[in-house]
Amino acid sequence: MSEEVLLRVSNIDVFYGGAQALWDVSLEVRRGEIVALAGSNGAGKSTLLKTVSGVIHPAKGSVEFAGMNITKLNAYDIVAQGISQVPEGRRLFPEMTVFQNLAIGSYNGKARAKREENLTRVYELFPVLKERKDQLAKTLSGGEQQMVAIGRGLMSNPRLILIDEMSLGLSPLIVCDLFRVLHAIRARGITVLLVEQNVWQSLHEADRAYIIETGRIVLSGNALELCEEEEVREAYFGV
């Protein structure tokens, strides 16, 4: 884990659907980290992620990636820079097969050359996908769909992967497996920014975390330390 800051979000105000969703939000993700962004439903976590991936643009503030200002870039250009988003709700292409979903992940120019290599790696991470590679995405179970979604995100050869609500609707067993996968991803040198409603689990798996409430960052720091914080325990663990 290095000290090099890969992603720097500085003082962003973001409006979504006509209302303000984020107030003066800042965060950092360093290379090789797993960072969790936790908070309850509607806190603004997804909005923040979408601002980083370029789907939404901030009204104020900036987003920098690997030293480059990407605030005004469109989502489809940001992918080429090395950021990949695994969207909330998986959002697979329903009428395309597992293989086709993965393949389209390497659409952007730089990733195309590495397609076969990345595909092999994804199949190593998720062997069940190799079995089901010609199956239509919409016929898969929730856990399998999440695997495809993550795999698809990896196919674009990212340096930073953003994962939005990975555990939503999945059984704890599958969620555990997926978190194991996150560590494997990190071991390959890919940085992870994770958004989760499941505060407990994400704090236990991440290196650092930010707690966000009603559009503002309220706490940040080492994940395990945050677990011990009185406020956090009261608010999220019902203690």
Binding site: S53, V55, N74, A75, Y76, D77, V79, A80, S84, Q85, P87, R91, F93, P94, E95, M96, Q100, A103, I104, G105, Y107, N108, A111, R112, R152, S156
Partner: protein
Amino acid sequence: METLADLASPIAIGVLLGGLYVVIALGLSLVFGVMKVINVAHGDLVILGSYFAYVTSTSWGLDPILSMVVGIPLFFVMGIFIEKFLLHRAFRMSADAALIVAFGISLIIQNGAQLVWTPLSRGLMTSYTLESLKIGDVYLPVVYLVDFAMALVVVLAVHQFLKRTYLGQAITAASQDSETAQLMGINPARVYQIAFGIAMALAAIAGVSLALTFPFTPKSGVPFLIIAFGVIILGGLGSMVGTFIGGMIFGLSQTLGGHFLGPTGQLLVPFVMVLVVLTIRPQGLFGR
């Protein structure tokens, strides 16, 4: 009472005619699937293709099929221009606005063509226009066989393009979920342009087919639009096989309608069928 033998000819021709309708419907379906907009000018664009073939054939003496070498790239570029500068702006306002703009384009093409080429009915004559192949008791006009063969080639080509190329898969992805497609690095505006360009190229091909087969006037576009729409609704979006079957069903409805009800029936039966299909099953028999 009609015997089956008497019906053999209209049935055979109806099936072959389906090929022509498939090519027309394919362009419409591509745009509809990707942009969720029905290009009501599509029929007129096909007729424009017919006039192009007519012009190259009469002015330069080119065989119409060869004229496609020029026609296809030309129409492709035209399509990109139309999408980029006209339809895209309207589409960003609302789906209704895009429909109205397409309607305006339709009228411009129809009446422009009427000014340039007069309402007189035109057709293409080639060496094989009047020839027929005799199979059993049935005479199959060669042009219909050519249409059908072209349809097979076109459908195969488009299918492979959509399945095997990155651009084709990008179009497919964008038509299923355009926001997520952006997360793959796909620029939706570019996808729309290319899709529309391809649709216009298909219109050019269909135009040649049509010009070889029927006489046409500047106003011939609307009936073909309606039938093409019926084909994609019946066959279902995104299904090549479905579109082919839909094309053949409508081809049959036209030839059999004409056989039993006279020339009015040739359009009346397909039109009524379109209404019925729209009412009963807008999502089609094969589609999603």
